[in-house]
């Protein structure tokens, strides 16, 4: 399948493009919708909202999730909030401003038309979620409350305590449950998608492995939507849930879907620092804490006193010092690198000197402990449970960790990948965040894709297939792909080596974190490109999976996911090596200003890199989508 990148951006001025698309798109009439079957993989915000809405419209929807229930997807862990250009605070917000902040926050590496559409539908999302009963925070008068987030100078973030992702996901899950109850959506739980099947140049369905029985099965459809999330777990230690993985997106990539900007990964500045060697994952502390917390380190690397005893003039509130206009609310990439510099300079705090302070004593003094408890109570409790320290009394310790991936499957304006009939939504696609995502924008994008974009754009493709036969799951191509998948899992069982999948995942994660993490350079990346294949070879020869492949086997599940992380890790490093500039979450130490800020190169790199699978992970093929800016002017991102 040869790859052509046609972004299919509609005609007209930027602000009119989406309305222009809606006015001119091809529709499927209500009676005909039931003739189309759509498979959705993943039940997070994007997958649940897409399934529910497509089911409501009358399509025959089948939803696949590897969780026991759709309500478990990792969208549920998002804490801080969701952005929308409602301007309820009357502080100068507008669709244009949200659009502009998002493009600027993404360091001018996102597609203008997609981002503008995102800002437009953001207002509908809030209306929709409130109608569904999401208990957003409110003022005493009963109207909705907002808070501010990094990278913005307005308060446009809606929130439900520190559990906004949970409440939004449960809202989408409730709407999905209604459709399942009505019989419009069929739910397949504990089913993992392990491959995509293409027939005659279009996506014809998927192959799944039943996690309970180990059986493989084929499922055909008119269209397939991958809402399979991001790949942040490639670092092993991340804030992602334990089962988050790249397999859905990666298997699609191997079958012809281009993978865009894999090196754009987000390192979140406020996570609880690693406490030990055996730690399994890191925990995020919401960015919203930076509204009231002040970040600092001791000025001296030899400091040993407890935080409270360090006098003001021996503290460095470095974000407030370096970025006075945004202060503690500087964007994530900027804040993360600043923290790394402080820790690298020896000014880190905590027993391992691997964190910086996030201090609430000023805010508690100003607002009282009750107000702080009201705003962040559950986060403070969580912090105390994990660290054993009470953050009302001593400052929190935080450090950056892998959190979100801006890169993902390349999609056009209609969210279709380079494989006709195969769509990607939510974090699984690359579409809206450029090289860095702003806080409270992931929930917005997941719901935008699922509720308000896909249900419109998918009919554009489906209408051409009305009353035309499509191959069903008995087609020989399904049998072939199913056999390949079966062999792959048999092989994991058969290696009979000495190391567990977790061992390889941890080792791979170390390589990626050291050479393709917060700070990258050509020497390191080349080193990674030679170390990863060596480790992958060892994986193939020395993997050990115990247990059986005919009942639930979490070790075997993990083996398949780690295998795909190897190939993805290679592509990340290729992409990072190729992109000879610093932008957003991608920081190449060869390309920085004298003050150590990211130095972008708009003349040579204002493009999306979309990689084609060549069959050899050492030699991916790069395609480029040049980014054309109609409205936004390139400028150096400054938060000073």
């Amino acid at each position: 399948m040869s790859i052509t990148l046609d972004p299919k951006v509609p005609e007209g001025p930027l602000a009119d493009k989406w309305q222009h698309f809606i006015a001119n798109e091809k529709l499927v009439n209500p009676a005909n919708k039931r003739k189309f079957k759509i498979i959705v993989v993943g039940s997070g915000l994007a997958g649940a909202s897409a399934s529910a809405t497509l089911g409501e419209l009358g399509y025959e929807v089948e939803l696949f999730t590897f969780h026991d229930s759709p309500r478990r997807a990792h969208s549920i862990a998002a804490q801080g909030g969701i952005n929308a250009a409602k301007n309820y605070q009357g502080d100068g917000d507008s669709i244009h401003r949200l659009f502009y902040d998002t493009v600027k926050g993404g360091d001018f590496r996102s597609r203008e038309a997609n981002v503008h559409r995102l800002a437009e539908v953001s207002v509908d999302i809030i209306d929709q979620m409130v109608a569904q009963g999401v208990p957003f925070a409110r003022e005493y008068g009963g109207l909705l409350d907002n808070r501010s987030f990094g990278g913005a100078q307005v308060s446009r973030t809606f929130y439900a305590r520190g559990q906004t992702g949970q409440q939004l996901l449960l809202g989408a899950y409730q709407q999905l449950s209604r459709q399942i109850g009505l019989g419009n959506v069929k739910l397949w739980n504990r089913m993992e998608m392990v491959d995509v099947v293409n027939i005659d140049g279009r996506c014809a369905g998927i192959v799944c492995r039943d996690l309970m029985t180990g059986e493989f099965s084929s499922h055909s459809a008119h269209a397939v939507v991958l809402a399979t999330g991001g790949y942040g777990n490639v670092f092993f230690l991340s804030t992602n849930a334990m089962s988050c993985n790249v397999t859905g997106a990666w298997r699609a990539h191997r079958r012809g879907a281009a993978f865009a900007n894999p090196c754009f990964t987000q390192i979140h500045p406020t996570c609880i620092p690693q406490a030990d060697e055996f730690q399994s994952k890191l925990t995020l502390m919401s960015e919203s804490l930076r509204n009231d917390g002040r970040i600092w380190v001791p000025t001296s690397a030899d400091e040993t006193r407890p935080a409270a005893q360090i006098p003001e003039d021996e503290r460095d509130y470095y974000l407030e010092r370096i970025y006075p206009s945004f202060g503690n609310l500087a964007p994530r990439d900027v804040s993360s690198r600043a923290a790394k510099r402080m820790v690298d300079a020896g000014q880190g705090v905590g027993p391992l000197k691997n964190g910086v302070y996030l201090d609430f004593s000023d805010a508690i003094g100003r607002l009282g402990e009750d107000t702080i408890r009201e705003r962040y109570g559950n986060l403070f409790d969580m912090y105390e449970r994990i660290t054993g320290e009470n953050p009302y009394e001593v400052p929190m310790r935080i450090y950056p960790a892998s959190h979100y991936t801006m890169g993902g499957l390349w999609v056009d304006y209609e969210l279709m990948t380079t494989v006709p009939g195969l769509y990607a939504a939510g974090e699984a696609n690359f579409s809206d965040h450029g090289a860095n995502r702003l806080g409270a924008s992931a929930l917005m994008q997941g719901l935008s894709d699922g509720y308000f974009v896909l249900p419109y754009t998918i009919s554009q493709y489906l209408s051409d297939w009305l009353n035309k036969p499509i191959p069903d799951a008995t087609h020989e191509e399904f049998a072939k792909v199913e056999a390949e998948a079966r062999d792959r899992f048999k092989q994991y069982m058969a290696v009979g080596g000495t190391r567990s999948p977790d061992y390889f995942h941890r080792e791979l994660g170390k390589i990626i974190w050291d050479y393709c993490g917060m700070d990258r350079n050509a020497t390191g990346l080349e080193k990674a490109l030679s170390e990863i294949p060596a480790l992958h070879e060892e994986f193939k020869k020395d993997l050990k999976v115990t247990g059986s492949d005919t009942s639930i086997n979490q070790t075997l599940e993990k083996a398949g996911r780690v295998d795909d992380f190897f190939e993805l890790g290679m592509l990340m490093c290729h992409d990072a090596l190729n992109r000879e500039e610093s932008c957003g979450g991608h920081f190449r130490s060869e390309h920085q200003t004298e003050e150590g800020e990211a130095l972008r190169n708009d003349d040579d790199f204002a493009y999306v890199s979309a990689w084609e699978w060549s069959g050899d992970m050492a030699a991916p093929i790069e395609h480029k989508e040049q980014l054309e800016y109609e409205v936004v002017k390139f400028q150096t991102r400054s938060y000073k």
Binding site: D127, E139, M242, A275, M382, G388
Partner: protein, 257 residues
Amino acid sequence: MTTLTNLTLKIWRQDGPDGQGRFETHQIPEISDEASLLEMLDILNERLIDEDKEAIVFDHDCREGICGTCSLMIDGRAHGPQRGTATCQVHMRVFESGDEIVLEPWRANAFPVIKDLMVDRSPFDRIMEAGGYITAPTGGAPDANLIPIPKPVADAAMDAAACIGCGACVAACPNGAASLFTSAKIAHLNLLPQGQAERYKRTSAMVDKMDEYFGSCTNHGECEAACPKEISIDNIAVMNADYLKSKFKNRKALSRR
């Protein structure tokens, strides 16, 4: 950071839903008190794989206490000794050197064991499908600020909505009742103005579905004590009151025919 030594784990192993279960004993010579209980299980599993044995199956995912996937009876208590804390947030510092720790799957008829410590909680999804929603198809929603909701009402709805659907309430209940789970969703939606149109239909549909799978509530209150989100049993009172009213409401509707 201190190190705990000489822990004994008694862990439930069961090959499948129909298998005969048994306790297996494992020694943990030492573990940091910074480790979580599940990280200790990770380490034990690595050791089992190393010894060519099958790893212990247990449900877990976010490890932040929010997804509701994890589930363990720890020393006979759902989610263990710490109040308001899910299994994945239990850290070894709550135990002492030399302790014996007993780990079992959720105990409830409605949640059959799948394997080892993993159970099937899908009846919760069936209750949600029966009515745990507000009918609001995508598109056409009015402006979000059109209906002001008093802050205490929004807060009370949020308190109920915080349920993570883990099933600890059922596991802790001597009757295997799901009243806390069901009532938390009913209270969340029935308290809000948006939820009024379907209030009684929702309540009766969800309660009837619940009764197909689960035991009856006899006000033991164990559910509230075990709930990792400290959901109040007041919600059960809301549910029961609305369920009773739903019967009258339906009669009224019938009499109009």
